[in-house]
């Protein structure tokens, strides 16, 4: 996917996340759309692309927030890289596999986010971090995979054919 289009998609996802998604939040948790786009692209395109896109997307998110610049960049870079690794080893054309990958990589990305918060001395109790954020976000985000995966998959395949 061309980088400007991806950046536009990510900005759109970020805007949705700060406004519309509040209305579909379950128990206060909203899905991490940016993470989902990153891991699905990483899964389909590979480790390097996943990590790069994760870093760029996270950086946009951090610049949007205006503080802790790099927090989301590193967490999403790791998630994108892990998704890329999964893509090299697993069957990439199955939505169910992609959903599982989205779950585990979002879980890992959120956990790294938590560790970085500790590094930044933002104290969150492990119970709240795991039970109220990390697991619910991973579940909610991965459940949205079927909505996005086929579209991204088709786009990537189309691009391959053009090449």
């Amino acid at each position: 996917m061309p980088f400007p289009i991806l950046l536009l998609l990510l900005t759109g996802a970020l805007l949705l996340q700060s406004t519309v998604l509040d209305y579909v939040a379950i128990l206060g948790i909203k899905p991490d759309l940016v993470m989902l786009i990153v891991v699905l692209n990483g899964f389909l395109l590979g480790t390097r692309e996943g990590a790069f896109l994760g870093y760029a997307a996270g950086m946009v998110e951090d610049l949007f927030a205006g503080s802790y610049i790099g927090l989301n960049a590193l967490a999403k870079m790791a998630a994108g890289y892990l998704a890329g690794m999964a893509g090299l080893r697993l069957f990439r054309e199955n939505t169910l596999v992609a959903t599982g990958v989205a779950f585990f990589t979002t879980l890992a990305g959120s956990f790294i986010n938590y560790l970085l918060l500790l590094y930044l001395k933002v104290e969150v109790l492990p119970f709240y971090a795991i039970v109220r954020v990390i697991i619910p976000v991973a579940v909610y985000t991965s459940l949205l995979t079927p909505l996005f995966f086929s579209r991204i998959f088709r786009f990537v395949k189309l691009k391959d054919r053009e090449i």
Partner: protein, 285 residues
């Protein structure tokens, strides 16, 4: 490991180290003004966010309309029964009117609070996209006289404080954010403690550093203590939930359910100034 791999690994390490360093540098500091770039970016995105929030409210209304209509029919039936019962109570209510007059005098005390503060209203236009933190963007900024550290509340209770301001909007750190700390006390027992956020998405807070010898019960009201010079004294914060001992053994802590519904905020009040007895307006409310 060949030369190319080593070089790539080195560059990756360098990138991570630089990012960690930048992260440290960009830890928000209340004593420093908001960066111009950040506030400009927020100003540019604010109209889009405002539009999307409006659209979401309309969509939410449309989607929930059939359910609401069904509930309305059920409610109408219940209300008709309720009306019959209430008519018989009307006579008794006349007695309450007299009682009400006496209570009105007590209420005048409460209205003193409004005389002590200068307030403006604001609408929520965006929320933190992250699930970890709990911040809001509201449509009032330095043009309206909003400054950093001023108190934000609803008629139900405390919401948080302003942490960064741009000309047309500002960012509010909610009391459920893990970076938030509010000097508080239990209203009934005057037990002091600090109400800190747990994690943004939970909408809950907890009161820590409560002396262990204090006997507290669930449901007791928590108010701001006025210590720390950020929040004015006496603003309702929430009610105590489950109480447990802290691992150190010296203190106990309790969950706090905020009075204000932090997940569903639409309009809030900002305390611009608090007038002291001498009439001066100290900073930050």
């Amino acid at each position: 490991m060949n030369w190319v791999t080593a070089k790539r690994l080195f560059l990756l390490m360098l990138l991570i180290a630089v990012t960690l360093w930048v992260m440290r540098l960009t830890i928000p500091d209340a004593s420093e003004p908001t960066s111009l770039e950040s506030s400009r970016l927020r100003d540019v995105l604010a109209p889009v966010q405002k539009g999307l929030t409006w659209l979401s409210r309309q969509a939410h209304f449309a989607v929930t309309l059939p359910v609401n209509a069904y509930r309305s029919a059920e409610r109408t039936q219940n209300l008709e029964q309720e009306m019959t019962r209430l008519e018989s109570q009307l006579t008794r209510m006349n007695e309450y009117i007299l009682e009400n007059q006496r209570l009105a005098e007590l209420l005048a005390c409460k209205q003193v609070m409004e005389e002590e503060h200068s307030l403006i209203t604001a609408s929520v236009i965006a929320r933190d996209p992250n699930n970890w933190f709990a911040t809001l963007t509201i449509n009032r900024g330095s043009r309206d006289g909003v400054r950093e550290n001023v108190t934000v509340l609803t008629p139900q209770g405390l919401v948080g404080r302003v942490v960064s301001v741009s000309p047309s909007n500002c960012e509010v750190l909610l009391i459920s954010d893990p970076r938030s700390g509010v000097g508080s006390l239990v209203q009934e027992t005057r037990t002091p403690g600090i109400v800190e956020g747990t994690v943004g998405s939970s909408g809950m807070a907890r009161m820590i550093h409560i002396p262990k010898n204090e006997i507290l019960t669930e449901g007791q009201a928590v108010i701001t203590s006025g210590l720390g010079s950020v929040f004015p004294k006496g603003i309702p914060v929430g009610t105590l939930g489950s109480i447990r001992d802290e691992p150190t053994g010296l203190f106990q802590s309790a969950e706090v359910k905020p009075y204000a519904n932090l997940d569903k905020l639409e309009e809030v009040l900002i305390i611009l100034n608090t007038f002291s007895e001498t009439g001066a307006a100290p900073e930050g409310g």
